[in-house]
């Protein structure tokens, strides 16, 4: 066995071996939302790649170099060969870093997932940008879009520096991010989605901006299976609003119903807009989430 000096850890978020493994994965976008810029994603529109896409009737002004002369010889009519266009895809990582995400290390897990997906995007020459909402004004902390593995260190430093806090609702953050973002692709929403705001509207905005929605809900075990008994006064971590609960132990069954219904509703919001939804627990190991769960769910390949 060869023993050498250990490689310095690139980030505190993920181990090097996990990073090296996610570098070999790529985000599996199903909607092919791409920008016109040249990239590695084949466009649905005609392009100049070597991959054949379709035929169409020749129209005046078309480049005769793309006429399929073999078809012309058989049918005596000119048909134009269409080729797929390889375009770049934006990977937008929206991290909910509000106070509610500080519970049960949800923010840490969100940053870890964002780091992994961001690395995947950079290694696949996609334009990766990050927006973190961690203040009351709703103005996101932003990492500008960039491509190439050379930006990996910058991405990781940015994510390491994201602090939690603030009480800005998720939809405010999404709107603020969309005001800054240009380009189509994939948006990964990393949040607990526990907001009173109008989430369908925010999802519509994302969809109409050409972003395929990847909603990842992060919940702590205390939210999935809370241990509450007797009469308690619940305090909202973000708004400091109070709610008195009597005989909390008896209400847990209904709580679980509403939690599952809420997840189903989020899943519906995403899938209706061609996206995906997944809910994970912060108790799940990061290896399992990145290398097993996301692959099985078709988020990455």
């Amino acid at each position: 066995m060869e023993i050498g000096p250990s490689k310095p850890r690139l980030t505190t978020l993920l181990d090097n071996d996990i990073l090296s493994r996610v570098e070999q994965l790529s985000i599996n976008a199903s909607q092919r939302f791409t920008s016109r810029g040249r990239g590695e994603h084949l466009s649905r529109k005609g392009g100049s790649s070597n991959e054949f896409a379709d035929y169409r009737d020749y129209a005046e002004g078309d480049d005769v170099r793309f006429v399929d002369w073999n078809v012309f010889s058989r049918h005596r009519r000119p048909y134009l060969k269409l080729y797929r266009h390889e375009e770049e895809m934006s990977v937008v990582l929206l991290i909910d870093a509000s106070s509610s995400m500080l519970f049960g290390e949800k923010l840490t897990r969100a940053k870890q997932v964002a780091a992994a997906l961001g690395v995947m995007g950079l290694f696949n020459t996609e334009r990766v940008s990050v927006y973190a909402f961690n203040n009351d004004e709703g103005q996101p902390q932003m990492l500008k879009p960039g491509t190439g593995r050379g930006r990996m260190r910058e991405l990781l430093r940015f994510l390491e520096g994201v602090e939690g806090g603030g009480a800005a609702p998720l939809e405010t953050g999404i709107e603020a991010a969309l005001r800054r973002h240009r380009g189509r692709g994939v948006v990964v929403l990393l949040s607990d989605f526990l907001t009173f705001g109008d989430l369908p509207r925010s999802f519509n905005l994302l969809y109409s901006s050409g972003l395929e929605i990847f909603g990842l809900q992060l919940l702590s075990p205390a939210e999935i299976d809370p241990e509450l008994t007797g009469d308690v006064r619940l305090i909202d971590a973000e708004t400091q609003a109070m709610l008195d609960i009597t005989s909390a132990g008896n209400l847990l069954g209904i709580y679980h119903e509403y939690r599952r219904a809420f997840q189903t509703r989020l899943d519906t919001f995403c899938t209706q807009r061609g996206g995906r939804f997944l809910s994970i627990s912060t108790a799940d190991p990061i290896n399992f989430v990145l290398l097993d769960l996301l692959r099985r769910k078709g988020w990455v390949r």
């Binding site: 907001t195 308690v232 709610l243 008195d244 009597t246 209400l251």
Partner: protein, 627 residues
Amino acid sequence: MIPGFHALSSAWLFFLFIPVVLFYFLKLKRPRQEVPSLLLWRQVLQDQRVNSPFQRFKRNILLILQLLLLLLLVLAAMQPYWRGQASTIRRLPILIDTSASMAALDKAGGKSRLEVAREQVALMIDNLASDQELGLIAFGRTGRKLTDFTSNKRILRDALETLSVQDVPSDVEDGLRIAQALARSTPFDQAMLLSDGNFPMPERFDLPFKLDYRKLPGAGPNVGITALVAQRTGQEGWALFVSVETSSESPAGAAVELLRDGKPVQTADLTVTRGKAERLSFKFTLDKPASFEVRLKPDGFDSLAADNVAFIDLAPARSVFVYAAPECLAARAALAVQPGVRLFPEEGKAGPGDSRYDLVITNKLADASMTSPVFAFLGVVPEDLKPLVRLSKTPTSAIDWTRTAPLVAHVELTDLLVVNGSEVGQGVRDNDFENLSYEALAYGQHGPLILQKRDATRSAYFILFAPEESTFPYRVGFPVMLANLVQQAMQQAGLAETQGQTTGVLPPQHFLAESNYTIQSPDGQTWTEKSDARGMLAGVAANRVGRYKISGSGAADKSVGVGLLNTSETSLTGAEQIRFAEASVKAESTATLKIDRSYWPWLAALALTVLLVEWWYYQRRPGGYAA
């Protein structure tokens, strides 16, 4: 049934409902729990199920449980009870029979009658209200007050705990008289009698209060010795007669064993049927005093053990020692011809040695210092009677006499003429003699002619005329009366017929004068008694069957055995009705005894249960559906 409350004043505690409700809604101590978001919890609280009436009830179940807990505690503090018979009674004396038959068991290893009675009384004590008082009176051969009227349950329980069966016949009248005496100082309307009904009817007793007679359930079959009599046969021979009876409907077999000075000498088997006493006889001769013990061993279950043993002490046969004063010429002449009588003072001889006689006949009050169980004073008036009666010069004759009295049995006094008869003073009544413990056996025209005074150790007869100054010595009744005296002296000395010693009081014993003697009862208790100036140790209580050991100077570790020997106690029959002088009281079963039953301990226990349910309900692990 409407419950009553012993402490209705505690109802003011219901005002505690107000602060409980106030504190509940103020929720002063609701714990705070920070959560990421109230989103889901708000939806939960808006759910129709949560806001359904039942769920609203569940939401306030803590308040309801607290109010229920408080309600139970306040009700317990008010000391509710179901009204029974005793609810209207403020003061109740309870007479408890402790006679021998109360030791009878209902079955082998079962409960005695006294234990059943004790359980009933204990139940009454437990449910005694604070404004009610009980007084406990026990009666066997005599009655005794165990407690004054008190509501102190500890005192009552302690007294009840000390209660034990005495192996003596029952005398309910004595117990009732104690209750009557109590009523004079502390009035009450009703008394309760707990007994198996095995007692003689108090037909002379005027019941001054209402009596609730509770008859205890019957006991199992019993076989016992009911009589033990020894009779002299010939010069030195004795015959011992044993009577055995049973309370069982079916014939009962038993073995009888005779022990002489602790050693078995004879045995016999017998079968007893109810209503018919089975008699056995054992014959033997005696040349020295001996103690006999008869033991009965029933074949099957025997509910009462106290009547299975009897004792009798016998002395060798001898003549009756009679002292007749030389001045009593007629008496001496009559006694001289009586067979088996040795007359003192004899010509030129001293007395029997220690001045002890079986019978003393004299005309001098000073001779009362002699030692004898039977005295007959002729023509003298005792000192304590001199204010009431005197001997006059007025002639008189007998007008009436108690023919059943042993002294005048078969004695005809109709033609008796007395020259110097007795005469009572002005305003003297018959009960003035009774108050001084004298009983008139014969009356003359101006006052009593013959009086009897009995104490624990001897009987004294006072014939208030000199026989020589009457026609009495010339009548056949005179030698008959002297023969009755001799017969009585023989019985007292155990020379003619002797009964087995019975419980109650030990037979008088003659020891050294003014000396202390230690008595040890069969159950191991010891105490000291003092002999009187004549050396008589009398009045020693003997409430247990068995041998009593007497030790002290001159006693030489003497032991005296006593048995129950009571037909009534052995029969275990219980009266269904008590006949009093002017009324009768029917028996009620103890099963129908309605006792005020306090149920505040149940309410308190229920409150504790509610408290535990509340604790469990709110401290249990969170339930609900799986995640």
